[in-house]
Symmetry: C2
Subunit: 267 residues, 2 copies
């Protein structure tokens, strides 16, 4: 079988909207190149690119940016003189890796592939009752404490730690799950007030918005909580689902999901 | 002594710039009110407001927003129907607390009062060699490992944990200190490339920018590191310095720095 990048990407829901409105697309290579193998990962780091090359993949589908920014074109600037970026470009070139950023496509899909992947990784599919634009809502069959939910998250997602704000003893039934950088007040507060959730599980978010909100709720005697599992941890299951989708379409094509080692540690 | 809010605030460097360009200013009360006592804190939470009231302070100077957002006026919206916000407004009203947001003023001062406060809390004043707009640069007299620096940060700032990315064994001499939400790539990368720092110490920042950058540097064999001490931890020493500045001007006025309990815990 000899597939082009275009043929592989065509089986995935791609970002829509006016020209220039998406961060998705090729970073290196072109759409007509032949694909020997596909690597899918949360981020194209030095480590994950190296693993992809060792496995013989030449198309790397990355959820987040390659050069440490969401928008912009840091690596294209003529005057760039950053040794980390220069060495990374050298690495990509030496492996002739075709890099494709795939961020908005999966988030715009209905349901959001990334958030839905997280839901499935937690085995909470059957508890889901609504899928909003930025979150999916879950009603647990019986209340669990934040502490118990933290343990479930750690077990299912293989997390060394989570961060949390609120009351770890709080019993929760109504939970919103969001992925990535969606833990901020603009997304969280309407979930607490309009959707009447007890707990928001998010990737990351600004520290003094939702954490201060739930802490105030606790101080007022009406506990609410937020668990931050980390940006990567919240989006890796969704990217694993993307890899599976490609595999289902092309059973003969080598497709690898490459997990990243945890980058942020607690000391 | 009978001072007005205006007279107290006049001793501090206030935000400059065109009308509407600053988040600083009164949230409740007016500038002509008499001040019985001053409370200064990183954030006007339910807990810190309660402490301020117990101490008899009626002017509360808060670095961050009262209603969980940096810009905007969530609490002023007519249709607001958020029980946490409504109860907080009730609390503020019942204590007749005058709230003043003091964020841009101290950051715009030269040197930045908040970052300088952090520098002093670490006892690193004498090691500082430059004060840039968003960071101060320090050269340690002898190299310390990231692990040793983490211990110093924990001891001096009384931190239960820090987050870090990079190489904990890395020996560091050249360090940039930033406060608040300044850990992102736009601020960090020029510090690594132009200022040739080994380590960036910041409050918080997006997870897949600087942490991925330093991790790539480690993978490439040229270790760099970032320590995230938390937004509140990075700015509390500066607000403590603000309290001291008011105290120095008005020795007879009761002035209290109110530390906030850590809101984000690690489980």
């Amino acid at each position: 079988m000899s597939l082009t990048v275009q043929e592989v990407m065509d089986v995935l829901p791609l970002a829509s909207g006016p020209e220039g409105s998406t961060v998705d697309g090729l970073i290196t290579g072109n759409m007509k190149q032949k694909v020997q193998g596909v690597a899918v990962s949360f981020v194209a780091s030095h480590e994950t690119i190296e693993k992809a090359a060792q496995l013989g993949a030449n198309l790397f589908i990355t959820h987040e940016g390659v050069f440490y920014e969401h928008h912009g074109s840091r690596a294209e600037e003529q005057e760039i003189n950053d040794p980390v970026i220069l060495r990374k470009k050298e690495q990509i070139k030496s492996h002739q890796m075709i890099l494709y950023r795939y961020h908005d496509g999966p988030h715009q899909a209905v349901p959001d592939i990334i958030t839905h992947g997280l839901l499935q990784a937690l085995d909470w599919d059957t508890y889901q009752h609504s899928h909003l634009k930025y979150a999916c809502l879950v009603t647990l069959p019986e209340p669990l404490s934040v502490q118990q939910i933290v343990q479930h998250l750690k077990d299912r997602l293989d997390l060394p730690y989570v961060r949390f704000a609120g009351d770890s003893e709080q019993k929760c039934c109504e939970i919103a799950l969001t992925s990535g950088y969606r833990g901020g007040g603009n997304i969280a507060l309407p979930l607490f007030t309009e959707q009447r959730i007890d707990l928001l599980i998010a990737g990351e978010g600004p520290e003094w918005e939702t954490p201060e909100y739930v802490q105030d709720a606790v101080s007022q005697g009406s506990p609410q909580s937020q668990i931050l599992i980390g940006h990567a941890a919240s989006e890796e299951p969704g990217m694993k689902a993307v890899a599976q989708q490609i595999r289902d379409h092309f059973p003969d094509l080598p497709v690898y999901f490459i997990p990243a080692s945890p980058v942020i540690k607690v000391l």
